[in-house]
Amino acid sequence: MFDFLSSGRYDLLGAFWVTVQLTLYSAVGSLIWGTLLAGMRVSPVPLMRGFGTAYVNLVRNTPLTIIMVGSLLGLYQTLGFKLGADLSADIGFRLAVLAMVAYTGTFVCEALRSGINTVPVGQAEAARAMGLSFVQVLTLIVLPQAFRSVVAPLANVLIALTKNTTVASAIGVAEASFLMKNMVENETDALFAVFALIALGFIVLTLPTGLLLGWVSKRVAVKR
């Protein structure tokens, strides 16, 4: 049933390696961008708050496919941004990461913001009363506690991100689902095997992620 794998025509591990890379780069980028967005959304500066709110509501509600294809057609083919890459495969990969970060950052931001709301207001008051600046209060007192309370929701975001990397195939990034399309075209007699194989690959990636982060979330929880 899975004998198409031994034909040597499909680099399954290579494709999933691209998926893993897409996920890791996007996850790190989303975490940073989402934290910055959350900082903006709780900042005392109205302009930053306004930008954060507008950005999150706009991007979060746009389909990822549109952002993904838009980054290829808009940023690269129309405006000529290559993001420092020369090979078209690299350009596609980087554009995909950019699109994923832009999109997933909004979900990180909102998860984090709900975490900020779990930190008692007295924590920030005590920090301000001590003479810490807004940025210090946020980075030393509020965010560390907020992060600890949203490890589980962030795990959800990471799992969704892992699966959302399949959208990168829309701009030709050769990750797992891109390979799946080739397989589906060539191996019509083993369709269900192909689907099951790719699905299993994602489960192998996401199931341990969820279990591990669930354990982490219990370990780092702030006791009050």
Binding site: Q123, E125, A126, A129, G131, L132
Partner: protein, 261 residues
């Protein structure tokens, strides 16, 4: 001296006088509630002022306006001669000179007791870690929780947490300490251990503003009692005068309710 403000020429000309905290004509609203009405209050260096009054009288709000955790609608607040700045670096600097102790302790839950006491020294005062830790341990010993230095706040009793909070405020070497109902969230048997630390502080000459329901502390440690009701300062007197011979009906009524059982 041709001061800009002519209302209180003498005081303005001499900011380094004995007055450390000066509130003049302070007003604040919470929506329709006029929570602070024309508050005038002067606290001298080394003075211990206890603010008492019924719930909702505005005493906590008054305390919190002094380091601008609550903004005011009108009036003027000066600390050591300088008006309270707007939000920003200047305000942060001023707050670092004003220690604050809260009803709910507000120790940083994700940091150890020692880190709670060193954080401000390191991040605000830019003290090096070693010096900050030595000082923190000395302060924790002074308030009697030295043995708990490496625990987290949730592992301590309320009384211990509040004493740590006092040590944390003292670590900044504040000019004045604000206590916002420091014993109201404590189990009865833990109140005294906190009050003893505060009494020691008062004896050491710390300038203190204490919002409290502890009449015993007011009697024994206060230089002056300020009685508030309905957003106004109704009466100011020495503890002896106030408790034995209150002038206003509002204060008599309040005292009769709390002292008779």
């Amino acid at each position: 001296m041709s001061g800009v403000s002519v209302t209180k020429g003498v005081e303005d000309a001499a900011p380094a006088s004995g007055d450390l905290v000066v509130l003049s004509n302070v007003n604040k609203h919470f929506g329709a509630l006029h929570v602070l009405q024309d508050i005038d209050l002067t606290i001298a260096r080394g003075e211990v002022v206890v603010v008492i009054g019924p719930s909702g009288s505005g005493k906590s709000t008054l305390c919190r306006t002094i380091n601008r955790l609550e903004t005011i609608d009108s009036g003027d607040i000066r600390i050591d001669g300088k008006p309270l700045p707007q939000e920003g670096k200047e305000l942060a600097r001023l707050r670092s000179d004003v220690g604050m102790v809260f009803q709910s302790f507000n120790l940083f839950a994700h940091k150890t007791i020692l880190e709670n006491v060193t954080l401000g020294q390191i991040k605000v005062r830019k003290t090096d870690k070693k010096t900050a830790e030595d000082k923190a341990r000395a302060l924790l010993d002074r308030v009697g929780v030295g043995a708990q230095a490496d625990k987290y706040p949730a592992q301590l009793s309320g009384g211990q947490q509040q004493r740590v909070a006092i040590a944390r405020a003292l670590a900044m070497e504040p000019k004045v300490m604000l206590f916002d109902e420091p014993t109201s969230a404590l189990d009865p048997e833990m109140i005294n251990e906190v009050l003893e630390v505060m009494q020691q502080l008062a004896r050491d000459g710390m300038t203190m503003v204490v919002v409290t329901h502890e009449m015993g502390f007011a009697r024994s440690a206060a230089n002056r009692v300020v009685f508030m009701a309905d957003g106004r300062i109704v009466e100011e007197a020495t503890p002896d005068q106030f408790f034995s011979n209150p002038r206003s009906d509002r204060a008599k009524d309040f005292l009769s309710k709390i002292l008779h059982h």
